[in-house]
Amino acid sequence: MSVDAATRLEIEDFLTEEAALLDEWRLDEWLELFTEDAQYVVPSPTLPDGQPGQVLGLIDDDIARLRGRVERLTSGFAYREAPRPRTRRFVTNVRVLDLTPDEARATASFLVCRLRNGQIEPIMGRYEYRLRRKDGWKIRYRRAQIDLESISPYGSVSIIL
């Protein structure tokens, strides 16, 4: 089904609003964007096309683990991110690749900057979303593939990308 301009704009707005929730550290509200069968994946920088669960990756969360991740990040005891860092994310080049009445598959480029302890860590890459239409859009699948060849010099990817 062809992608009309209004739907494309709707999805782009959705991604922009999502980015705002993350930058404002409104992580509990961000969680509300996901379906119960959601999956959030960050593949290994050395094997980005590997199948999650069969090759090592960085993140392969179901909704329970994603909730655990947010609970950890907001607990004050996830020391890597407590006190919390500033982040600023740029989501661009949004493409809606597949569209059915119920689902949309979209990709976008991202640049997420994390600022903490006087340092700026830019992480760039590509998002892939599978969105489900359900009172607006919900995220069923969210994949953030980073372009870094290794996680250097930052070490961790412990914020939500």
């Binding site: 290994s44 090592l56 290794s150 961790s156």
Partner: protein, 445 residues
Amino acid sequence: MSFVQPTDLVRDDPTAGVFRVHRSSFTSQEVLDLEMERIFERCWLYVGHESEIERRGDFVRRTIARRPVIFLRGSDGEGRVLFNSCRHRGAAVCRAASGNAKAFSCFYHGWTYDTTGRLINVPDESPYGPCFDKSELGLTSPPRVQSYRGFYFMSLNPDAEELPAYLAGAREYIDRLADQSQAGLRIVPGGYRYGTKANWKLMMENFSDTYHFETLHRTYLKFLSSQAGDNRKEWDEYNRVAVFGRRKAYDLDNGHAAIEFGYPTNGRIIAVWHPAFGPAARPGVEAARSRLVERFGEERAAAIADNSVSVIVYPNLILLDIVASILMQVWPVTPGYIEVDNWAIGPRDETPEMLARRIEQFELFVGSAGFGAPDDMEAVESCQEGYAASAGQWSDISRGFHPQSSGDSEANLRAMWREWVANLASETHGAHDEARKPGVGAAAR
């Protein structure tokens, strides 16, 4: 601060039960230079696992002790390490991270080597004259390359003792890992590297330091507890008792050291089920344990299956055999910056379901985006920053050292440090000579 003697950097007083390391050990470029010369250029260093070079022609590029190398299986079936530098002018002959090759052709002038390192082709050879001998111009190897149970090591020291002798007591733990499967082990694809702004020894300590676990990793423990479902109370109690009662530290000689948890921490994919693995995984895990009992008897099977352990394979490899089996190798870049290689390793014949559980548990705890490792990085980076406070200060590693102390011990960390200081103080070529300090022995203190 400039140090006078390496032996001034460690205070090792068994009578007083005091063990301290001078903080310039973590910050001084002079110390790092000496470490490169007397540790990294003398000891055996892990290069890779046989499963990474399964077929003839398989290769992996690595950098070991700042040397670019190719870890490969030659057309003759032999596992090898070759320096990745053309004999002509020095360019890299292998430029892919990994793959399979019949030959390595230098992109600069086209000198070509086969997978055993032999120089097989030189474009337009005649201008070199009659004395030009290709057989003398093969890719060179490190002076020593050996493997133990599929784990390949190299040494830049031609006089290094044989690898099994060097590994000493660490062999036991490599054996326990290798014995997990009759089919052999394999590195799970997707291993990666991360950087950390800390000294390499801080990270080595951290991976073998159990004291920080309940403090630093409370969010991980909390999440696991939430996954334990109906068994939550039982597992929480299990962890509480185990944490304070069962850990034992071992000096394995030559700087190698282990800390045994004395129980299967939060389950072990290999053979001890935990509720977080999900009920569907239970029969498979229990069957795996039964197979170990059949193969080795209950006592040995228990050692392999039930006991989580962190092993320092001196100088820079960590074998963290906990819920999943993890290899980590720590490379100093500057005194305050390291690169850490991370691999998951498991049975070659694992079912896709168990592999998925293994990967999930790796990602959850030691992964770079996990619920544990990021906080480890934060802690060691914070220590490194703290050393700017006063270069004259000492770090304390005295737990369990005093003759009258009991319970938890950092004897494993002291074993590493004693070898470290002995190595730095030794001007001779042998990696492990008699420069040890008094008071060092097999006893884990």
